[in-house]
């Protein structure tokens, strides 16, 4: 790491001194305050969490070292297993839908039209707005009797739904909110990808008589694939740990039908105050997110290979 050589000026002199007349200054003083803060609020909590996860640690009673007992509890905890299922379903839908809609939106915003900047600002409002405030309004919109959504359904002749008030529809309803909220982020990332595409392929495709769909399918889509992966990755990380919207609208209900790992972690740690077990969930949860991210990276590498024509 280059940072290490900076701390020992003597070594730096031996390595690279002759090329420059002045010694490259050490920038450590600039970094130290932030390093202290990061150690205190990010590194320390992590190490402490790992330590706590190895203990029976409940508020108000003495702590005892129990080794991996907290971790062994997890697979036999039906509520945790159920929460994993909910999390996977919620995440899969909350990655796919924004990816589809975000890509379409990006194609539209890539065109030039008056008021584009302002409308882009309006379009990203859902993801910048305070989640709890949004959740509150969605809760009112989901209301089975007075909500505006059932009224809109009735306009197109569809029967009224129970939305977040029924176990079968609660997760899709929450995904609707999540999609509405986070499609703009996918749009922004893909828009960056579109801006980087040269015009020549389109010009020659047009000469060859390609249609709009063909150009999108065979030129645009392959070229923005890396950006779609980045967007998918970020979306996955955010959707997995989604909390505000679910907590404010359903608190994991009805029953435990929308309880994701993050919601369950909250209950274990701050309702039952079982901090040791909660820490174990936090560690496993983190590893799960890392594993999912690694899986997506792996997928990306494989598609790269097939694009190049590898596979050998």
């Amino acid at each position: 790491m280059s940072a290490l050589t900076q701390t020992t000026p003597a070594a730096a002199d031996n390595d690279a001194a002759p090329e420059r007349e002045w010694r490259p200054p050490s920038y450590w003083p600039f970094v130290v305050p932030a390093l202290v803060v990061v150690l205190a609020i990010i590194i320390f909590p992590w190490l402490f969490t790992i330590w706590m996860s190895l203990n029976e640690w409940k508020v108000g009673s003495p702590t005892t070292f129990v080794g991996f007992a907290n971790y062994l509890r997890l697979p036999n905890d039906p509520r945790f297993v159920e929460a994993v299922g909910h999390t996977i379903l919620y995440t899969a839908l909350s990655v796919l839908l924004p990816l589809v809609f975000g890509t379409l939106a990006a194609v539209v915003f890539h065109a030039k039209f008056p008021g584009r900047g302002f409308l882009r600002g309006v379009f990203i409002m859902p993801m910048m707005a305070t989640p709890v405030a949004i959740a509150l309004v969605w809760t009112m919109m989901f209301h089975p009797q007075l909500g505006v959504l059932n009224y809109l359904l009735s306009l197109v002749g569809l029967p009224p739904q129970l939305w977040v008030f029924h176990p079968a529809t609660v997760i899709p309803s929450l995904v609707l909110v999540e999609t509405w909220q986070w499609t703009p982020l996918v749009m922004l990332i893909v828009l960056g990808g579109l801006a980087a595409i040269p015009v020549e392929p389109y010009e020659s495709a047009q000469i060859d008589g390609a249609g709009v769909w063909q150009m999108f399918r065979y030129i645009t889509l392959p070229l923005i694939t890396p950006f779609l992966f980045i967007a998918g990755m970020i979306r996955m990380i955010d959707a997995v740990k989604s909390f505000d919207i679910i907590f404010a609208i359903t608190q994991g209900g009805p029953g435990s039908a929308s309880e994701t790992i993050n919601l369950y972690l909250y209950s274990v740690a701050f309702i039952y105050y079982d901090l040791g077990y909660g820490s174990a969930i936090a560690v496993v949860f983190f590893l799960l997110i890392i594993a999912m991210a690694a899986m997506m990276l792996h997928l990306r590498q494989r598609t790269l290979w097939t694009e190049i024509g590898g596979g050998a």
């Binding site: 390093l35 990010i42 909590p45 309006v122 405030a133 009224y151 505000d244 740690a269 701050f270």
Partner: protein
Amino acid sequence: MSARQILGKVGLWFAVFVIVSPAILFFLWMASLSLKFEVDNAAYPPVFIPEHFAWKNYADVLASNRFLTYFVNSLIVTGSATLLAMLVGVPAGYGIARMAAHKSAIVILIARITPGLSYLIPLFLLFQWLGLLGTLLPQIIIHLVVTVPIVIWIMIGYFETTPLELEEAALIDGATRWQVFRHVALPIARPGLAVAFILAVIFSWNNFVFGIVLAGRETRTLPVAVYNMISFDQLSWGPLAAAALIVTFPVLLLTVFAQRQIVAGLTAGAVKGG
């Protein structure tokens, strides 16, 4: 203009309308809910624009002195957490960019991936042990988890793109590293400072999960206060929607007016807090 071009224009505007309408209609509906008396909010079919506007909803929310307390709390927590983050994060971003210590960014990534709740368990114990619960200090400190990584991440990106020549010349002329940073690097990076500041403010202002655990009756921030209103007076939608709109209005205003900076920051780092 040929018929084809006109058709294309109409098609484009139609597409733009379809894409932007979910956002516009939602916030219009939010405003409508907040400006209606209970009779209109309970009406079926729903009333979009009422005959009489219930400005009273806003007056009621603002007049309750608790709301003012929570507003001040939010202002203190977000303000302190953002300023502290700028104070330590901007020089850090500069140092990391100049040392090309790219591996240190892994810590930022870990912070980005970690669910906010995982920080809460150990820090909650720490704050309890230090006897800080019941003050605003725990929330200010834990909001740094959101603001510091954002600021560092964005500033690394900015300082990496600013030219080195000026800085090297100043160093040869005998300026200290601090002077170079203060008088050469910082002025050039001013757009980056704006981006980092705006995003840190928004994500700290919006944060909910830290407050729900750490805030007591007197130390609630606005998102927590609004959430608590849901559970208490569920029946009156008007004042609730008004409170929600007041909480998120500063952010919406910032989003529309600083959309260029926000877009730059989000696409550069794609960071989000919490």
